[in-house]
Symmetry: C2
Subunit: 330 residues, 2 copies
């Protein structure tokens, strides 16, 4: 295992110390693994908390800041954070208007966020949870009952964060979060595996000419293993899978996301194929992201996430954001 | 070779078509491989042009936009662009105030930019070239006479771009570009090789427990091959090499750059080590970047670049920028 770490045990806390050193706009509790916006809580503002296993950076800590999340709690690599972390984050960002939990649909995350919400409510904090489940690849998986929550989480955090920044109440912020999730679908492809530091060997093996279609963000199996095709063929298969579940028409927000080890050059090759495919369907990519936003350590591959926009969602997407990983308009 | 491409021959033009589709703020001539800011040239503004082999994305095309480059010309992967591309870019951004060429010190790039400058001058366009050569690892290499130009190029493009945006003349913009280069040093480390699409096999081989200290951005050899150490040890060796050449004191701009295949989690582990090392020297990291800015395809590893700031350089660094890969304050 070749990694830039000091020890498998220290990788998350060392990285959090790095985040703290790099971003003075964040307050990082390294020991308890909670990242909050400096100056939290904000009186009267709905607080947004997300979290999940580490190894998906910049998700979620890189999305803490103005117009997006108020706090993130990272677990160990590919391991849910514990309810105590989530509770600490919830209390830290409660400005009296309630707190939204944005939870990717993995069994551990869902259960732990439920427990944290109950603990927070015992302390008089109103909590609503929205669970993302946008991955069309498989119905159940090693980590999940139902669909997995993947790239749509980035869209939910951005758009719900913008509405909360405008001063909307908890019900409305939760409603837009649910709406974004319902309007979004994703599909992922792996060219290589990744290695969890504490495990020390690749999560799975792929032959030299083989790729995994429908990969999960922890390397959990997808739909099928197929021979490596062209970017055109792979992208078409991914969008066919999405299109079977969501009409690919109208104005779309599209993310071509790198899994962590994919050159940006290749992500733009894929984006070009996505743009051509969607144009062929009569859809319009109104907004886009191309880059590493929800990763799986050093895995090579990509995922594509599509969201059907409305005028309101577009306006909230365009609203100013100022986080380590997304920044515009401010 | 596992890559998300359609063919090795088409990878650069396919990616450029993707850049064109993703970024309406850019005008992309896919056939001639020139990326310019939409609306170029700007009358009275010094134009900034850079370029070099592809495979280092987001450098340079991702840095075209307000407050940074006016144009970029990408060559084939790890291959210099040709003088005709550079000339086309120069003419496209000449607003009558002259054009600055920002050139990484690789023999092909330097010669081709020289030829392009002569051709542009034949057409009455004043051109000044600034060559970056910040890599302390080796004096000469496979691609270079003298020091290689690497991460400082990002700093030069940002800071000279800000001064040009303010309306400064060509001499002043060139002077600040030279100053940034002179005040900057870099050192790179590879954990793995990368594969040039047209070659189809890794550029070099490293044993499972071996890393290359002082790697170049094309995979050209560095100083030594050593056993994989801890992030603490590797970072200290990189900063020792820089510190032997540049006093590590005062206010510094520091970039911890991923080579393309390194998880962001690990880059933050490295950044934490960099911050501790520099604090131990009594220096202050006044500004920083952590992420993929000048890459080598899917290579795993990192580079660290340090620039001694002045008040003026800090002000120009903080000035608004609006490009695909760097965006703030606007």
């Amino acid at each position: 295992m070749k990694k830039l770490i000091n020890s498998p045990e220290a990788v998350v806390t060392d990285a959090l110390a790095g985040v703290a050193a790099a971003h003075p706009s964040l307050a990082v509790d390294v020991e308890n693994k909670v990242i909050t916006r400096a100056g939290a809580p904000r009186a009267g503002k709905v607080g947004l908390v997300s979290g999940g296993g580490s190894g998906h950076e910049p998700l979620h800590g890189g999305f803490v800041g103005y117009g997006m999340l108020d706090a993130a709690c990272p677990g160990e690599v590919f391991t849910s954070p514990v309810p105590d972390q989530m509770l600490a984050a919830t209390k830290a960002v409660n400005g009296g208007a309630g707190v939204l939990h944005i939870v990717k649909n993995y069994t551990g995350d869902v259960l732990n966020f439920q427990m944290a919400a109950e603990l927070a409510e015992d302390e008089g904090i109103e909590v609503v949870a929205v669970v993302t489940n946008d991955d069309v690849a498989v119905q159940d998986s090693l980590y999940t009952a139902g669909r997995r929550g993947v790239g749509a989480t980035v869209f939910v955090e951005k758009i719900a964060g913008a509405l909360a920044e405008e001063g909307a109440g908890l019900d409305k912020v939760a409603a837009v979060a649910r709406e974004v999730n319902e309007r979004s679908r994703s599909f992922g492809v792996a060219l290589t595996s990744c290695t969890i530091p504490a495990v020390g060997k690749p999560t799975f093996e792929l032959a030299e000419s083989e790729i995994e279609m429908g990969i999960g963000i922890h390397g959990e199996p997808g739909r099928s293993r197929v021979p490596l095709g062209s970017a055109h063929e792979i992208t078409a298969a991914a969008l066919d899978a999405i299109g079977a579940d969501l009409p690919l028409s109208g104005d779309l927000l599209v993310m071509v996301n790198g899994m962590g080890g994919t050159p940006l050059l290749e992500l733009y090759v894929v984006y070009n194929e996505v743009a051509k495919y969607l144009a062929g369907q009569g859809a319009r990519i109104a907004r886009n992201l191309v880059g590493n936003y929800i990763t799986s350590l050093e895995m090579q591959g990509f995922s594509v996430t599509v969201c059907q926009l409305t005028d309101t969602l577009t306006r909230l997407w365009d609203a100013p954001v100022d986080t380590p990983a997304l920044r515009w308009g401010r």
